[in-house]
Symmetry: C2
Subunit: 344 residues, 2 copies
């Protein structure tokens, strides 16, 4: 869930990007989100607006629209509403994430917790969750509500596991994948599922879109963990990412620990466990010499390959080229990251 | 939402109480809640169990069962599930309430926030909300999910307003009623509505049960605010309730402020705004001499009268005597409170 501040997974860097084609759908989503604000009690409407009217990337709505793609300028109302639901769930999780991380800024703007205080932010997050499910309950059947509520529980479960694992150096690779599968891939998966389903595509494709979303979500989170791992280093040249500071074991760090000599490893483990700054020798140059970036990039590629594979039997359907384009975009961002940070 | 620690609104004090008749339904609810625990991801199951397996009064499930009463030993599965949904929503709000109140104990047991830390507690509350809505989405139609999600949003909105009003001495009686209508009466209302509806009673009675629940909820919250107002005084003879300490304006305090001489009033307002202890002169004896208890009891009675009135046209239906019994029980508790604390 923390992945949405990745700076470069954005349409502006790639004129051919799939995002460019979603103008009418995103305009409809804008309108839908504004209408949602009016659904909140008048006394808390400004707070709801503050949380809903963001400049976010809208990755999950993008997945809904693309998995349910029916052609240029086709704006399908159920897709818009489903996109609104997954985005609201996501924004609610961000409001609660920011409380836990004591974050003051998100996208250069004051977080809800800083703006309204953490107590109000807990409740605003709850109100956003509730409203998301309320919209989900306005579809003709209970399917959307059932899927989204279960998905939301899983996202929270993944976040809880991550919270419990903080500064726990016994976390395994399986634990890591389990957490990102729940906290990130789950909502990606449901977004793709709902898009394909609500657009009326055949069940086999709905299942393929579902699996594509899951693999893309895993890939995206690993990519995002790498961004975090390298991010701070790039900016200020000294410290590593915020995940490290918060004691979160991510794939890049796990790979690093695997490769370091026992003594150096013990030093890092001890620093993380005690919340001390990491030894200065742990920097990007060191990552490079150990080939960490290459290995992490491979893990992302593997997931993207799985994502592409599940779509193969459906190559003739309209959403498929766009879904693959999205996957390619992530691959490209990863390559750019590797190049700029010289991680390989 | 904070009202559930009232010590005396319990079946044991009144052998004739309606609670006594709900044995089979509550046993079914126990089983349902245990089954719910198994629905959570294995890694967080113990935490879910900790939050779900409480010794709470189950007022909201009681309302579901009574509003949908079909006779002794009739255990209607949809009612059990609806009771589980409203109770889970309520327990989720308590988990989040306790974070905000920095509460360490609830019903003599460590709160989730103390047990697992506030960060995990935010997320566990979210997971409980999600699971409640997930169960709601398993009914044949979207009705339950739609009603419960909207209700949950309203409960949160009421709590937000209350949080924003802390230490705000400009709060009016209308503001107070608005907050308790949302934070407490809303879920009482939906509980009664769902019970009557799912048991198959006619629409006119469903609406009456709905309105009964709302008035009972308002009455209950005012009663609970009086319990809080008098509670501490009774126990340690010096300070007043926790609402006062947290700067929450409730009906008893508003009535008190109305009646005090300007100077004394200013002293209390200033103490509350600055979070200082209240002047010692503000104690139960003073309440008594000013007739505060009588006035607050009148406000409760008014709501209970409205609650009874809406049921009049449906006197022949099985749930009605039990609903009235519940209302009488609250009246009796109020009388007991008045007598023991000598507020009139």
């Amino acid at each position: 869930m923390s992945g949405q501040i990745a700076p470069s997974f954005s349409p502006s860097k790639d004129p051919a990007a799939v995002f460019q084609r979603l103008g009418p759908q995103m305009t409809a989503l804008d309108r839908f989100m504004r209408e949602q604000v009016a659904q909140f009690e008048p006394e808390i409407r400004d707070m709801a607006a503050y949380c809903l009217e963001t400049s976010g990337k809208r990755l999950r709505p993008t997945l809904v629209f693309i998995a349910g793609w029916q052609g240029e300028n086709v704006v399908n109302d159920p897709l818009v509403r489903a996109a609104g639901v997954v985005e609201m769930v996501h924004l609610a999780t961000l409001v609660h994430d920011d409380i836990m991380d004591r974050a003051e800024l998100r996208r250069s703007r004051s977080t809800a917790t800083r703006e309204f205080g953490p107590d109000a932010a807990v409740l605003i997050g709850d109100a956003l969750f509730s409203q998301a499910l309320h919209v989900a309950a306005q579809f003709p059947t209970t399917d959307v509500c059932r899927m989204v509520s279960e998905s939301t529980r899983k996202v929270c479960s993944g976040e809880i596991m991550q919270t419990l694992h903080r500064r726990d150096m016994g976390v395994t690779m399986a634990d890591y994948y389990r957490v990102i599968d729940l906290k990130t891939a789950e909502l990606f998966r449901v977004s793709c599922h709902l898009g394909a389903k609500l657009a009326g595509y055949p069940e086999e494709f709905v299942r393929a879109a579902n699996d594509f979303g899951r693999h893309l979500g895993i890939a995206y989170q690993i990519y995002d963990d790498l961004v975090d791992f390298l991010g701070e280093e790039k900016n200020i040249g000294k410290t590593l990412g915020t995940d490290l500071a918060s004691g979160k074991l991510t794939l890049p760090l796990m790979r690093l620990l695997d490769k370091l000599p026992a003594e150096e490893r013990a030093e890092i483990v001890s620093a993380m466990q005690q919340g001390r700054p990491l030894p200065l020798g742990v920097n990007v140059a060191r990552m490079r010499s150990l080939g960490i970036g290459v290995e992490v990039a491979q893990a992302v590629d593997e997931e993207l390959q799985r994502a592409a594979d599940v779509l193969k039997p459906h190559a003739g359907l309209a959403p498929v080229p766009l879904l693959l384009q999205l996957s390619d975009l992530l691959k490209k961002q990863l390559a750019g990251l590797s190049a700029s940070a010289s991680v390989n």
